[in-house]
């Protein structure tokens, strides 16, 4: 999630309300400063997810237009105060069949592309690399399989200080408040990254909206998911499953970098590699 930075203490609420009303009227697309909508994300499947989301949203708008339109027309025309006389009809087989059939057709139209995307989401074969994620109360542990690289990832100190009750620190002065970590997950752009998730204590859930991934980390289970980021950048998320007192304080940061930068980062993280190089 790209974060807006706000000047300290500035409260431009009214302006925001005004803008969001304009946005609701369909005047403009959501901008990053006051996100109204799901991010399109940086993977092919996150874009597909976004498209499905918008498709079903537009269907809902169309249905709402018809149903609410009929209701509002009826509310205006069929009121006693304008002299309406009540009709006496009370059933129509034809109507029931019509308004049972049409929704079924709409659902079929929606079901097909949705099912296609679900099938793709589940296809984690042939990954370029695998990271094992173990969730703890309240931090993440990342282990790169086949490499001697593993580390914990916890809430950044700056947020940790500011988040205390009566800390006296204005959250608006903290960069990426509650969405920053000490050690981010680093992956190369364009690689298919398989994630294996488990937990050591209670159920957690690893969620990064821009990657369109949310998967529970469950004690005793090894869950699997994958992503292939197509754009270099820093993407932020949070634990999504209530996991106790500090559930709100276990963010996720994924740095997607160029392959060379990834290789350099990986080398710097491998104590074994550096050690053996020294002994040679």
């Amino acid at each position: 999630m790209r974060l807006p930075t706000r000047p300290q203490g500035e409260f431009s609420m009214l302006r925001k309300v005004y803008l969001s009303v304009l946005g609701l009227l369909g005047a403009s697309r959501a901008n990053a400063d006051w996100a109204l909508n799901m991010p399109r994300g940086v993977t092919r499947l996150s874009a597909e997810t976004y498209d499905l989301h918008m498709q079903i949203f537009y269907w809902c708008c169309a249905i709402a237009l018809v149903v609410f339109g009929v209701m509002i027309y009826s509310l205006i025309r069929h009121r006693k105060s304008v002299g309406a006389k009540p009709a006496t009809f009370s059933h129509s087989m034809k109507a029931e069949v019509i308004w049972t059939t049409i929704p079924i057709i709409i659902l079929l139209i929606l079901a097909v592309p949705s099912a296609r995307t679900v099938i793709e989401l589940e296809d984690s074969r042939k990954p370029d690399m695998t990271v094992v994620i173990t969730a703890y109360q309240w931090r993440w542990h990342y282990r790169y399989t086949g490499q001697d690289v593993e580390f914990y990832s916890s809430l950044a100190r700056t947020s940790g200080d500011a988040r205390r009750l009566d800390s006296g620190i204005d959250p608006f002065t903290v960069d990426n408040y509650l969405l920053d970590v000490d050690n981010p997950l680093v992956v190369p752009v364009g690689s298919k990254v398989r994630l294996l998730l488990t937990a050591n204590d209670v159920v957690h859930s690893w969620w990064v909206p821009e990657l369109a991934i949310k998967k529970d980390a469950i004690p005793g289970f090894m869950n699997e998911t994958w992503f292939k980021a197509e754009t270099v950048g820093t993407y932020r998320g949070q634990c999504a499953e209530l996991c106790g007192m500090d559930h709100g304080y276990m963010p996720i940061v994924v740095n997607v970098v160029e392959p060379q930068a990834y290789a350099a980062w990986l080398a710097s993280k491998q104590p074994a590699a550096t050690q053996s190089a020294a002994t040679n």
Partner: protein, 534 residues
Amino acid sequence: MTSAVMDAHHSEAHHEPAKGIKRWLYATNHKDIGTMYLVLSLVMFLTGGVMALIIRSELFQPGLQFIAPNVFNQMTTMHALVMVFGAVMPAFVGLANWMIPLMIGAPDMALPRMNNWSFWILPFAFLMLVSTFFMPGGAPASGWTMYPPLVLQTGDAFPFLIFSVHLLGISSIMGAINIIVTIVNMRAPDMSLLKMPMFVWTWLITAYLLLAVMPVLAGAVTMLLTDQFFGTSFFLAAGGGDPVMYQHIFWFFGHPEVYILILPAFGVVSEIIPTFARKPLFGHDSMVYAASSIAFLSFIVWAHHMFTVGMPLTGQLFFMFSTMLIAVPTGVKIFNWVATMWRGAMTFETPMLFSLAILFLFTIGGFSGLMLAIVPADIQYHDSYFVVAHFHYVLVPGSVFAIMAAVYYWLPKWTGHMYNEKLGKVHFWLSTVFINVTFFPMHFLGLAGMPRRIPDYSTQFTDFNAIASVGAVGYGLSQLLFVYVVVQCVRGKGEKASSEVWDNPKGLEWTVPSPAPYHTFEVPPKISSSSTFS
């Protein structure tokens, strides 16, 4: 309430209500018990509301201002438990107690002593549940879903949580048995099943759902109890157990539960719209079939709460398709209500206003429900504020509005006096405006990436959270107006109500005087063709 239920002309000496506290402690009269359920529900609604306002106050700005994170989690957990089991369910049981005998022409509920017991369990169960706030470790903080292993980290409150859930379940099961037996055995002669009013129908279906799933919940929480205290590991991976199994069992209860919360609301709307449209309910029989289909489908969709838990592909597809299918019978209900309004002669008294708001706002909740059925999109929505917006749209302007509509609709029948229509309408408009201010921005928060159940958030979520908090305070304060209107009506401040109350409404409850005498239908009524709609 005394004046509401006494009727000197009708009751013989030994039939008069007992005096003082005995009348309520020993109550077997369906009207008295119904009243107690409704009063309890109102108290719990305000209690849960205070918790909601504490939550919204903390979320007004980023940073922690008022409560520590563990207290925040206690608030969200208890808010949900109190609202679901304390406010909405008892309110509908109270309405069932008051109205089902009056609507089917029965003298009382079939099992009056069990009725007494199923009510009197509740105040003690909730006293115990709320008292956990003062125990070492505080109230339960694991969310109302009580997922293990987290719930096993609850402090001293844990066994009290389990025991109160057991008690609530026992009460619900007894209430459900009573309602089924009453409806099946005590209908007036000539009232065939398909002639029953929709409120009775939806409650019959609801009662079967309760009977089917409350034991499942009891089983699940009992296994939690033995895992905690008796060395079993049903849900503990370290002992070979399965934490995901709990989620399956819980949602096998949990999904029918959400229809338990909404089907009686459908029944209420189906009673009110025909009265104020002055036109029979459109498609009575297909409404019955739609409600039955919803009830059936509710048993085969539970894992749509679990799309991120990890499931085989075929499982995900099955639960996606079955969930989407629910839109069909739900749509049928909405379309039938619209067809009932169509070419009627509508007036807009408070119960009708609330019912119309349900048609609009529940439908919005239905749309987000359909969106949530789509697995890839659900992976983004799941456990975000989008879900919070969704279920509050179906529960508040669905169930809660229906309860309030029902209270306004039948209050003159219960008390013999009209409520203050002007204040009722003010209450309606304030509620409707503030409910949207509260919950609509939550859609945006969820889509932008804000998880639910967090006490503090990153700064880009500030504005919509502030708006939601303002709406919540407005909605909360508006309910004090509701309390005032009801209390004034009960105290007999309004004008006298006729036995029909409204403009030629249909149904047996309108054939008895207002206030309804302490004993009604001691002789089964004859059903004229005009007294029901079918």
